[in-house]
């Protein structure tokens, strides 16, 4: 199919594209974001202007960006995949050089009023590049070692840069996000088996390195692991957050304590309740019903993305959609697993719900790509 086919064929053009958006996805995203606004009102003690209002403006801007990006045809995305990736790598290097110290790790660059977090942007551009790579690579070569090594390097380069920030969580997400694209692209399962085995080996080595000269993680990261393994060992120190989070979550019960009635979150037993622990507030105030509703909405978002991807005959578009929805999946499942005490505590936002600009913008950017893929799918 030529470029001409692309335009002449059944693809909608101009303003009409808006009719071809993945509207269920738009509404699901808006629904999840609305839950976020509600929870931000709750954690601000009923005040709208503390967190909910700025978040609403950001979300509105994000919606505009998403819809705007949906109009951009796929050839453009394919075209900028390499420059975007290179730019992101350079930005990551830049962070190392001129980054601001924040939360114990250098993670962002201030460009005027915009606080840029290149590691977040990397999640999208990596998916873009890998999708373009597998679109270009003939399927029969996908599992050849050399052709597997290339994407591995493409993934590990930014991962390494993020790791030395150090930001273990994002590194893992980059690896997993890239892995999802490779997995769907058809790379032989043997490679995944080997990587998982290697990962287990690496974890063992990391744990072994503790207290030695070549310690691979910062002390606080080791403490998080300890706390994860036994949160009650240090209930007022490192384990405090997890214990309080679990108490809040569990005490929500079936239907929760009611809006603004969560004692744990009201009384500051919960840390960072407007960002990383916002799911706990939801679970405390709206109980199992509320928590499952959000999980259901997330699952539907993934479902619609996957359906869109699998019904898209454009390999590039498919892979982008799967990669971005996979990243989104990693976001919420890691956050939820963390606050439930199933994963070691690490700062990760709940996508579309947590207060914060960067992750929201990146997600909306990602969904913009998903929408573009959906709008421009070959008919």
């Amino acid at each position: 199919m030529s470029y001409l086919d692309y335009t002449v064929a059944q693809t909608p053009t101009g303003i009409r594209k808006i009719l071809y958006l993945n509207w269920p996805l738009v509404f699901l995203i808006a629904a999840v974001a609305s839950i976020g606004f509600l929870m931000l009102v709750s954690v601000a003690g009923g005040k709208v202007d503390t967190w909910a209002e700025p978040q609403m403006y950001r979300f509105a801007a994000g919606m505009v960006i998403m819809i705007a990006l949906a109009f951009v045809p796929m050839w453009f995305w394919r075209g900028i995949s390499i420059p975007a990736y290179v730019t992101c790598v350079l930005l990551l290097v830049g962070v190392e050089l001129v980054g601001t110290i924040g939360m114990g790790a250098q993670r962002w660059i201030d460009i005027g009023p915009i606080r840029l977090q290149p590691s977040e942007l990397m999640k999208i551009s990596q998916v873009l590049l890998l999708a373009a790579y597998y679109d270009w690579l003939p399927p029969h070569r996908v599992s050849r070692p050399l052709w597997v090594l290339i994407p591995v390097v493409l993934i590990l380069a930014p991962t390494g840069l993020v790791l030395i920030q150090p930001d273990l969580g994002t590194s893992i997400m980059l690896v997993a996000g890239g892995g999802i694209v490779m997995f769907v692209a058809g790379v032989s399962l043997w490679y995944f088996g080997v990587v998982i085995a290697a990962a287990v080996g690496l974890v063992a080595t990391v744990l072994e390195s503790r207290g030695t000269d070549w310690q691979l993680l910062k002390d606080y990261q080791f403490r998080r692991i300890d706390t994860f393994l036994d949160p009650t060992a240090d209930p007022l120190g490192a384990g405090y957050n997890i214990i309080q989070s679990q108490i809040a979550l569990g005490s929500g019960g079936w239907s929760g304590r009611g809006f603004m009635q969560g004692t744990q979150s009201r009384l500051n037993f919960l840390p960072e309740k407007h960002t990383d622990f916002i799911f706990t507030v939801l679970a405390e105030e709206f109980g199992f019903v509320g928590a499952m509703s959000l999980l259901g909405l997330y699952t539907l978002i993934i479902g619609f993305c996957l359906y869109s991807a699998l019904s898209n005959r454009d390999r590039f578009a498919s892979l982008i959609t799967v990669g971005i929805s996979g990243t989104f999946f990693l976001y919420f499942s890691i956050n939820m697993a963390t606050v439930m005490g199933m994963l070691p505590a690490k700062g990760s936002p709940l996508p579309l719900v947590s207060y914060g600009g960067t992750s929201l913008m990146i997600l909306m950017l990602g969904f913009g790509l998903v929408q573009a893929a959906h709008v421009h799918r070959p008919r």
Binding site: I82, G250, N268, A291, D314, F316
Partner: protein, 646 residues
């Protein structure tokens, strides 16, 4: 890379297969998350709910209002007043309390020493603990702080209840007082009520307040409050007021008590008035007294020293705690022992030459020339000692002691007061046990006139008199009703003494007052329907040496105060249908007939009249003096109990 979309069936199928695998994996993860949620929020919800409540909900106790104490007519004799105070919380003051304290010092006086003490306390206590800066503020001070609250960050004006005794010192000894709980108090109590740990709680320390603590305390209320992770109170969830302690009505008549206190003035004295039919203690007053309100508020060291060093011992309760040789008031006991044992009868006579000799010693009658021939009635009316010396030798101490016990001496009357004394009704076994010595005949002689080993409290003497007057085994009581429920009026059995002999004793006591030669004739009541019977007593606090006696007995007036005799008097009225028995002791007052009997008579008159003694009830020559005394008294109006000097 080209800009053309790549599309072939093989890759499309591959993507579909792997995409479905991915969907499966993702579904698995979502299911795991959902199951974990279910296990936490549905299966273990109860446990987490308990943990959460324990985290955030604290129970704060509310000090219950202490039960009121009423007199027999419903006058409040122990109440509660608003106590205005200010507290300061360091955290709310922004960490540095000193500037706030200096600003506050412009509104209320805070001495430099107190300031240093407070700063020290703030440095030691947690930043969220409110610390009391000043207590018992006036309304003006309190409101000036409230108005200036915006400039005084962290300062909270609070009001609470505090015990107050509207009758001041009148009832100080019987009521006792309350105070903050000390470590010593806690050490004495097993499983102390948690409310005792509250700084503002007041515990009955002594007297009625202490003995009736369980009734007066009430039940603590509860406030369920939400606290944040730092322990700071965020809001109140529920408030359950405590139950006020029971209102306890005493048998005391506050008006009579007030009169008795005023009548005794600054004498070191005690007076007990008892209802001879019911045993109600109508008045039990020790003088001089002290202001119990000072103890509630924390008495200052100079005030306390002044009380401790006062030679009239204002802190001592002379009514139940003080024991004295009863002197001649004991003679009814010896007489009744003689009559009951059959050694004598009412007509038996002894000759009094002014002394008798026993055990190689000479025992003197108080009247140097002697009383001549004396019978039972005149032995009392003249208070002849020799009659009792002779009688005691015939009756023996054991029967005297037995009679003393029948009349309520030498035993503890269990009143809800502190340190109720047992007194001593000595007998042979007692002396053997106490001193390891055999009883001497001289001991009997001394005991027969209430000297020597005999010791009795004014309460016991009042009970004795009540028993003689009513012929009933009267037992004293102080509690009339608890929480509106009247205590049953006791139905006392008849006294185990022949009523005919009691009539002899009463006739003798009548003669003391009303016969022409009675020792207390001057203090008689001239109204026939209130005809009064009594007995004087004078107890020596020193031995009169032979040399002194040779020089002539020195008049009490010429002795230093603390070596003078104690003056005692017991009485009851009306003679025909006795209602009240009174005992009065004036320490170092000299003779019972001159000092103690007019006081006892006036108190008795007040009791009978239900108000100030009518002047026409006393002999004409005493009316002016009585009126003058009444005018000088500061009596409480019965209906408006005012606060005494603070």
């Amino acid at each position: 890379m080209t800009n053309a979309p790549r599309q072939n069936d093989a890759s499309g199928r591959g993507i579909t297969r792997r995409g479905l695998m991915l969907a499966g994996i993702q579904l698995g993860v979502v299911t795991t998350l959902a199951l974990k949620l279910r296990s936490m929020q549905v299966e273990q919800a109860e446990q987490y709910r308990m943990l959460a409540d324990g985290n955030s909900i604290k129970i704060r106790l509310l000090v219950p209002a202490r039960g009121l104490i009423h007199d027999r007519n419903g006058i409040v004799i122990a109440g509660n007043e608003q106590n205005y105070r200010v507290t300061l919380t360091r955290e709310e003051a922004g960490g540095d309390v000193e500037p706030v304290l200096h600003r506050l010092a412009r509104l209320i006086p805070i001495s430099d020493a107190r300031m240093a003490e407070l700063l020290d306390e703030f440095s030691k206590r947690s930043a969220i603990t409110p610390i009391v800066l000043a207590d018992r503020l006036t309304w003006e001070q309190f409101s000036s702080i409230a108005v200036n609250a915006p400039a005084l960050a962290g300062v909270t004006p609070e009001s609470g209840l505090s015990r107050v005794y509207p009758r001041g010192g009148d009832l100080a000894h019987v009521l006792g007082y309350v105070g903050p709980v000390s470590d010593y108090d806690l050490s004495k109590i097993e499983n102390p009520d948690p409310v005792l740990m509250l700084p503002e709680f007041q515990l009955g320390k002594v007297g009625f307040e202490a003995r009736m603590e369980e009734h007066l305390r009430g039940k603590a209320g509860q406030r369920r409050v939400e606290v944040n992770s730092a322990g700071r109170e965020m809001r109140q969830l529920s408030r359950q007021e405590g139950e006020q302690g029971a209102t306890v009505q005493m048998t005391i008549d506050a008006q009579l008590q007030n009169y008795a206190a005023q009548r005794m003035g600054q004498e070191s004295a005690a007076a007990v008035v008892i209802d001879v039919q019911t045993g109600d203690i109508v008045t039990i007053c020790s003088s001089p007294s002290f202001d119990p309100n000072k103890f509630v508020r924390g008495i200052s060291s100079p005030d306390y020293k002044a009380l401790m060093n006062h030679d009239h011992r204002p802190l001592a309760d002379k009514t139940v705690q003080g024991v004295y040789p009863p002197g001649s008031t004991f003679k009814m006991v010896t007489l009744l022992a003689g009559l009951e044992s059959g050694v004598i009868n009412a007509g038996s006579r002894f000759y009094c030459p002014g002394y008798t000799t026993a055990g190689g010693r000479r025992f003197h009658c108080w009247r140097k020339g002697g009383h001549g021939t004396v019978d039972a009635v005149t032995s009392l009316s003249h208070s002849c000692d020799v009659y009792y010396y002779e009688l005691a030798q015939k009756v023996g101490i054991d029967r005297i002691a037995a009679m003393a016990r029948k009349l309520g001496l030498g035993q503890r009357h269990d009143l809800p007061m502190s340190a109720v004394a047992e007194g001593i009704a000595p007998d042979r076994a007692w002396k053997q046990a106490r001193y390891g010595q055999a009883w001497q005949v001289g001991d009997s002689l001394n005991a027969s006139i209430g000297q020597g080993y005999v010791l009795a409290s004014p309460l016991q003497l009042a009970v004795m008199t009540a028993r003689i007057a009513s012929g009933l085994e009267v037992r004293p009581r102080l509690v009339r009703a608890i929480d509106g429920v009247a205590q049953p009026v006791p139905d006392f059995p008849a006294l185990d003494v022949n009523p005919a002999f009691l009539r002899v004793a009463r006739a003798g006591m009548d003669a003391v007052m009303n016969s022409d030669t009675g020792t207390a004739r001057r203090s008689r009541i001239i109204r026939e329907d209130w005809r009064m019977a009594g007995k004087t007593g004078t107890s020596q606090v020193r031995n009169i040496t032979a040399a002194e006696r040779a020089r002539g007995v020195v008049s009490n007036d010429q002795l230093p105060w603390n070596r003078r005799d104690h003056a005692l008097f017991v009485c009851f009225a009306p003679l025909d249908a006795p209602r009240y028995a009174v005992s009065v002791i004036v320490e170092h007052g000299g003779g019972g007939s001159t000092v103690a009997s007019p006081i006892a008579r006036d108190i008795l008159l007040f009791a009978l009249n239900g108000g100030l003694p009518p002047l026409d009830a006393v002999p004409g020559d005493q009316r002016d003096a009585m009126e003058e005394r009444h005018n000088a008294m500061h009596l409480f109006a019965p209906d408006a109990p005012r606060l005494t000097r603070a």
